[in-house]
């Protein structure tokens, strides 16, 4: 689905991404983790073509990313970024309908099947009953689900999510990631919470100062040996008794202070 080979990105003199290579296969959910400034969001921007890599190759569905026309890329790849709030109050349905844009020509009107598709997407994210509600009345979790609905209307082959659980309560964090998993669309997401990444991601890409520090399953990547030098804190990795998933606990630099 998506394959990056030796991708490098420089912004001015600064190397933001260096030699990033990994592949995302069908129905995989890959989480990108790393401390602030590691290059997580920049990586997503390179894949969504907001930034252009200085070297390396990005293949999307066996075609070079650069070959995609703008609208064609929007039909293949949908992005759920940090929720922008519109200047003037739009309804939930109006925002979800925006997902039709890449599929429509200038003078083409929306048909009944388009309307049906929007309703289905809202239904899938559990917002069907709020279709006519203004979006500034939604909670953070609902807003995030709305942008996922908009992405669904785009009918993408790949979903990119930029910190989809940021500023959300715990229940919404799980709700959003469960939803992403349930969609069955391959996804690449930047995540801050390592435990959420362990719980929901098939594979994890660990970035450190723009370098690909590790890539593999959560069991392979979420280890004290790899996490401690990257995050600069001592940590303990255990396996959750019920979920059988990794659980990371970072320890304060002066543990005695908490005792």
């Amino acid at each position: 689905m998506l394959k990056l080979s030796a991708v490098c990105l420089k912004l001015g003199e600064k190397t933001v991404l260096n030699d990033i290579s990994f592949a995302l296969h069908n129905n995989e959910f890959i989480g990108v983790i790393g401390p602030n400034g590691a290059g997580k969001s920049s990586l997503l921007r390179v894949v969504q073509r907001s930034l252009t890599a200085n070297s390396g190759q990005i293949m999307l569905k066996q075609r070079a990313l650069a070959q995609y026309k703008t609208a064609e890329l929007a039909r293949t790849l949908a992005v759920v970024s940090q929720n922008p709030i519109p200047l003037f109050a739009l309804t939930v349905e109006q925002v979800a309908t925006m997902g039709l844009l890449p599929h429509k020509s200038w003078f083409e009107v929306n048909h009944s099947q388009d309307q049906h598709q929007v309703s289905q997407a809202l239904n899938r994210v559990g917002l069907a009953d709020k279709a006519s509600q203004l979006i500034d009345t939604l909670s953070g979790g609902e807003l995030q689900r709305l942008y996922i609905a908009r992405a669904l209307v785009q009918r993408p082959a790949l979903l990119l999510l930029d910190e989809p659980t940021n500023h959300l309560d715990v229940q919404y964090q799980h709700q959003v990631l469960e939803l992403v998993r349930a969609l069955g669309i391959p996804a690449l997401a930047c995540l801050h919470d390592l435990n959420l990444a362990a719980m929901y991601c098939d594979k994890i890409l660990l970035l450190h100062q723009g370098q690909q520090y590790a890539f593999g399953t959560p069991e392979q990547v979420l280890t004290t040996e790899l996490l401690q030098p990257v995050f600069g804190l001592a940590c303990e990795v255990t396996t959750h008794v019920l979920l059988r998933k990794q659980q990371v606990t970072f320890l304060p630099s002066q543990t005695g202070a908490l005792c």
């Binding site: 992005v79 970024s81 200047l87 003037f88 739009l90 109006q94 844009l101």
Partner: protein, 330 residues
């Protein structure tokens, strides 16, 4: 806004516009009955030739200009507010008015005042201001809409300063002439103005309606719009150029009419809805309706004298706007 409210607002404002246009044709220094007005419009014989001349040669082109100017300014404002994500954007955003003022001033001071020269001067001046703003913003600055807005403000002040300088050394009556013209009037419009304005207003409206989805997408953020396949820079450039051309044409025919392009879109959003189709069609109707009544007031309130349109639009518009803001939390 519910769908039925939108439809009701559309029907109501269309009916009010048609009725207002008929009333507008019959009122003035010579009063003509509505029946006679309808007879003249239907092309039937009956009313005196004076009534026919007044309606067909004087009032009708002026009325159609009022409709086109009101609609044109309102859709320009609506497009610019969405395209720049700035609720205070108006058609004179890029120093258009200052450019038109400078053009008119130079023509008026250098050449003997003649309305066609002044209109042409204003048109060229307005376009010069736009070119100046776009030249400043070319390249990197064009990526950020804030730079464009600031460049517009700077160019506006610069051209106004040049106008003031020229007027300071000009003959005493030049300032009066320019001032009255800049405050806006439809008194010099004729069938030529209608022929000039109608295709431009129609073209910009059709273009904006064709780009309605892209305009809606811009409401969120540039990055969000880009992920939907919108080339935000090209889209903004096309829309800004189209509205600048439209506003330059309007300014050349009737001077500066403040507040319509700023205020009408906000009223329309409240009663019609915020998505582009509703906003644009609503702006056409409400902008035209507003301008028809402003012109009616301008030519009937004082006997033998016209009030500049800009004075009425600014006064009536701001009071109306403040009232709505207070009552409806716009």
């Amino acid at each position: 806004m519910l769908k039925r409210h939108y439809k009701l607002a559309m029907w109501l404002s269309t009916a009010l516009l048609v009725l207002s246009m008929l009333i507008s044709l019959s009122i003035g220094s010579v009063s003509i009955t509505l029946l006679d007005t309808l007879t003249v419009l239907a092309g039937q014989a009956g009313p005196s030739s004076l009534a026919q001349t007044i309606i067909l040669q004087i009032r009708l082109p002026r009325l159609l200009c009022a409709v086109l100017v009101g609609a044109g300014l309102a859709i320009s404002g609506a497009i610019l507010q969405n395209a720049t994500r700035n609720p205070l954007a108006d058609p004179y955003l890029f120093g258009l008015m200052a450019g038109a003022g400078l053009g008119a001033t130079l023509v008026s001071v250098v050449l003997p005042a003649h309305i066609i020269s002044m209109a042409l001067g204003a048109f060229v001046g307005a376009l010069f201001a736009v070119v100046l703003v776009f030249a400043v913003c070319a390249g990197q600055h064009w990526r950020k809409v804030e730079y464009t807005l600031l460049a517009g403000v700077a160019v506006s002040f610069m051209l106004s300063a040049v106008s003031s300088f020229v007027l300071y050394f000009a003959e005493p009556f030049a300032a009066n002439r320019i001032m009255f013209w800049l405050m806006g009037s439809l008194s010099r419009t004729d069938w030529f103005s209608v022929l000039l304005l109608s295709p431009v207003v129609l073209l910009v409206l059709v273009l904006a309606l064709a780009l309605r989805r892209q305009l809606d997408a811009l409401l969120l953020s540039d990055e969000s719009a880009r992920t939907l396949g919108v080339n935000t820079q090209t889209l903004r450039l096309v829309l800004l150029l189209a509205t600048a051309l439209l506003t330059a044409c309007i300014v050349s025919q009737c001077g500066g009419i403040a507040f319509v392009g700023l205020m009408v879109p906000h009223i329309v959003r409240h009663y019609f809805g915020v998505t582009s189709v509703r906003l644009l069609l609503g702006s056409v109707l409400v902008g035209a309706l507003f301008m028809v009544w402003v012109d009616n007031l301008a030519r009937t309130v004082l006997p033998q004298q016209e009030i500049p349109l800009g004075v009425i639009t600014s006064l009536a518009g701001s009071v109306f706007f403040l009232l709505i803001m207070r009552r409806q939390r716009l």
